[in-house]
């Protein structure tokens, strides 16, 4: 049975409604912060703004704190309410999503640290085009994955799974062109490696956004698609 986004506000216990709504609200707040962290980290590189990059590194602690808070709330709900069916799936999806958001936060922090090094070494703007393209793509995926979570929108979630494949191929192509730079000019190895780490982090952000989308399908349809071949997804999810 598919569920809708208002299902968790229909319990006889209003306190339980409130607790579940709080979980979703706090997850969305964490998502908003993490989204901004990724955006700031990329902008710090593109705008050569090392103070912004430092703020991103500092803010990672706030992301970690939010994950701990959400985990605590989920533990309390599990212990006190013993949720079942869609309520149980919501709690599990929130725990998993918070873990992926925390990892996205770590990736943002990695991007910012590499940006600081590149800015300090005045490494030029080689690879910025690739960073810009992939970052826009993964940020859109992140935004959509959070929206699909908020709206319980599995159609949007499935689009994100498809998008992730595109990001993976963009990433491979960027890697190839950056390798060419390194082969052509040995002096570019160090700065280009920095950009490669940043691209790698962005590609991982895409993977985590993809995970969030998979949790939405689990939450709404009770279907675990984590290890399903993307080509079989429409058929598998459509059947339910």
């Amino acid at each position: 049975m598919d569920i809708t986004s208002d299902i968790h506000s229909q319990h006889i216990s209003r306190q339980f409604n409130h607790e579940l709504e709080e979980l979703k609200t706090h997850l969305m707040a964490m998502g908003g912060l993490v989204e901004k962290q990724v955006q700031d980290a990329v902008n710090s590189l593109l705008d050569a703004d090392s103070s912004l990059a430092e703020r991103v590194v500092d803010n990672d602690r706030a992301v970690n704190d939010m994950q701990i808070k959400i985990d605590d709330e989920c533990t309390r709900v599990l212990a006190r309410r013993q949720p079942a069916a869609s309520d149980l799936r919501l709690v599990l999806a929130v725990i998993r999503a918070a873990s992926d958001l925390e990892r996205i936060g770590d990736e943002a922090s990695k991007i910012a640290r590499n940006a600081i090094e590149l800015i300090e070494n005045d490494s030029g703007s080689r690879g910025f085009v690739e960073v810009r393209i992939i970052s826009e793509h993964v940020r859109r995926m992140m935004r959509d994955s959070l929206t699909s979570f908020a709206r319980f929108d599995t159609d949007l979630a499935l689009q994100i799974v498809e998008e992730d494949q595109k990001v993976d191929s963009e990433y491979q192509s960027a890697m190839r062109s950056l390798m060419t730079f390194m082969m052509e000019d040995a002096r570019s190895i160090s700065p280009v490696l920095g950009i490669m780490w940043i691209l790698r982090a962005l590609e991982r952000v895409g993977d985590h956004a993809n995970n969030l989308a998979e949790y939405v399908v689990y939450l709404v349809k009770g279907l675990d698609i984590r290890h399903t071949n993307p080509d079989d997804l429409d058929e598998e999810v459509g059947d339910r």
């Binding site: 049975m1 569920i3 299902i7 229909q10 319990h11 006889i12 216990s13 339980f16 013993q82 949720p83 079942a84 069916a85 869609s86 309520d87 149980l88 799936r89 349809k221 009770g222």
Partner: protein, 270 residues
């Protein structure tokens, strides 16, 4: 109304009855108290050597169905029924089916423990003695076996002659289960067997239910959904005398197919 029943023709998460033979089979069963329908158009199979739980709101018919499984409604003249119930393929309402024999094969345990006003030993031996004379040594053996099966032997072996009423509520309930086991049933019906017990005694009864399924088919009626989720292999959700959804407990409690089931097990307003 859609009934989600699991049949061999369907696959995936549904119950595969080809893997479990049915012990009890209810076919198109309906029951009325006078003019008032209590169960309607009910068809389900209870897999052998598994625990099946009936859940549903008060008045949904789950206890009525349980009692129908060993003909406890027979003496109520206002009750009328349609359809049939089969135990290992035999119609339980067939003229050749003796009620006493049916109730030996399909034992019942109620919400409040009801030991007889006699010793622990005599309670367990009671049913055996009804079946005719038996050498004392043999009775001793069966009493010990039944008390061990009911996980009570170690607690009572030194006071078998003490009154059954001297036992705690949880012990009395296990004694009643031992009394039922002593006559060698195939099916054990449990009507809210732990609802009058404290949490530790409840867990002991639940553990006992789990252990008994290696040799018995168990059917449990409970208001306690966590208990149904903990001990049963299959769960049937009834509402207004109808079977709404029936499936593996794991599926029903994580991803029920119907909104009515979801609303009930998650405590939502209908």
């Amino acid at each position: 109304m859609t009934v989600m029943q699991h049949t061999p023709s369907t696959s995936g998460a549904l119950i595969d009855f080809s893997a479990h033979a049915s012990s009890l089979e209810v076919r198109d069963f309906a029951l009325r108290y006078g003019d008032k329908p209590a169960l309607s158009n009910l068809t389900l199979r209870v897999p052998r050597h598994r625990v099946t739980a009936f859940i549903g709101p008060s008045g949904c018919g789950k206890s009525t169905l349980l009692r129908a499984l060993n003909r406890l409604h027979d003496l109520n003249e206002s009750v009328s029924r349609e359809g049939s119930i089969h135990l290992e393929g035999q119609d339980i309402h067939a003229p050749e089916m003796m009620v006493a024999e049916l109730r030996r094969r399909v034992g019942m345990v109620f919400q409040v423990p009801n030991p007889f006003p006699m010793s622990i030993y005599d309670n367990v031996a009671f049913g055996l003695r009804l079946q005719g004379r038996m050498p004392k040594r043999r009775v001793d053996d069966v009493v010990e076996w039944a008390l061990r099966s009911a996980a009570l032997w170690d607690e009572v072996k030194d006071r078998l002659r003490a009154s059954a009423w001297s036992l705690s509520g949880g012990q009395q309930q296990r004694l009643v289960i031992a009394r039922t086991l002593a006559v060698g049933p195939e099916v054990l019906l449990l009507d809210e067997p732990a609802s009058a017990l404290d949490p530790i005694s409840s867990l002991k009864v639940e553990e006992l239910i789990r252990n008994l399924k290696s040799t018995l088919t168990l059917v449990l009626v409970t208001h306690n959904m966590q208990q149904a989720a903990r001990v049963s292999d299959y769960t049937a959700f009834l509402q207004d005398g109808e079977l709404v959804e029936y499936g593996p407990t794991d599926t029903l409690f994580t991803n029920p197919r119907l909104a009515r089931t979801e609303n009930y097990i998650t405590g939502r307003m209908a």
